[in-house]
């Protein structure tokens, strides 16, 4: 069937040369909800890096902040075609968290408090490319946006920036997380438009 609906253009944002291919600029911050929103207090919050030998490095809300929270201004790109430019965040650099971690693995499975997973190469989490983010748009991260803390790895599509981040588990090979098992690209580079399998 070739019915074209005259005048229908879809809800598209404005195009912008600073954006990766297929993205449009929006002014808000859409929430994509995949399940019930977890309710995690900062008292009970923790983040753990687990190596392939089972060694665990763990931070609670206090010790995370002692590592040092920094300002980040960055662009974010959602695979559902919206982008925001120059978004202000605050978070702890993942480089700092990996300083004492001994691993020979190149890949990480990120796990969240609600059972979601996403895989990221370790190289994409280091060299100033990733944070455990606690604030966005000048405010504490709200629960619907992944608060108290989410992963922020803005050079990849935003589904990799896992909400309610709980753990990074080292793995020797790149294994697909939740969306990657269900049709989405293993790596997700917006500049190469790596959206799907």
């Amino acid at each position: 069937m070739a019915i074209i609906n005259r005048g229908f253009g879809g809800r598209r944002g404005t195009s912008d040369p600073r954006l990766p291919p297929g993205q449009t600029l929006v002014g808000d911050w859409p929430v994509l909800t995949a399940g019930p929103t977890p309710d995690i207090s900062t008292d009970e919050w923790s983040f753990t890096i687990t190596t392939e030998t089972g060694v665990q490095h763990r931070w609670d809300w206090g010790t995370l902040h002692e590592v040092g929270v920094e300002d980040v201004v960055t662009d974010i790109h959602c695979v559902t075609h919206w982008s925001r430019l120059g978004m202000p965040w605050r978070g702890v650099s993942v480089d700092r968290l990996f300083e004492d971690v001994e691993t020979s693995c190149d890949f990480v499975m990120v796990r969240t408090h609600d059972g979601y997973t996403t895989n990221v190469p370790l190289d994409d989490l280091l060299e100033g490319q990733a944070w455990i983010a606690t604030e966005a748009d000048g405010e504490a991260l709200t629960a619907e946006h992944g608060g108290p803390a989410r992963l922020l790895v803005p050079h990849l599509y935003f589904w990799k920036s896992a909400k309610w981040v709980a753990e990074m588990r080292m793995m020797p090979t790149d294994q697909p997380g939740f969306w990657e098992q269900n049709g989405y690209h293993l790596r997700g580079d917006p500049w190469r438009e790596e959206r799907y399998w």
């Binding site: 399940g35 098992q181 269900n182 799907y196």
Partner: protein
């Protein structure tokens, strides 16, 4: 927007399975709860649809549409029971 329910997936199920199965009974692989697929909680966004058990919130099914494919995971459903039934044939064109 929070969630809707399995009624919203009727069209997708027709496209994928060829028939509307929202009244089929699904059994959750996690908690064994059995109920019509229409009663499941459906979180539908532009990334895809995540269908969760109304009892335990475990993921029953995932539907992702890409430009070239539809990917359906039913791994959270232990089984689906569909009543056998008669469908009315399409009406012939009016004279």
């Amino acid at each position: 927007m929070t969630h809707v329910d399995g009624n919203a997936l009727a069209g997708t199920l027709v496209d994928v399975l060829g028939f509307d199965s929202t009244d089929a009974i699904g059994e959750c692989a996690g908690c064994r709860h059995r109920s019509e697929l229409a009663r499941a909680h459906a979180f539908v966004t532009a990334m895809g649809a995540i269908v969760r058990c109304e009892a335990c919130q475990g993921v029953l099914a995932v539907v992702v549409r890409t430009p070239t494919d539809v990917h359906v995971s039913l791994s959270g459903l232990a089984r689906v029971s569909i009543a056998r039934r008669v469908s009315r044939a399409p009406r012939p064109p009016s004279p």
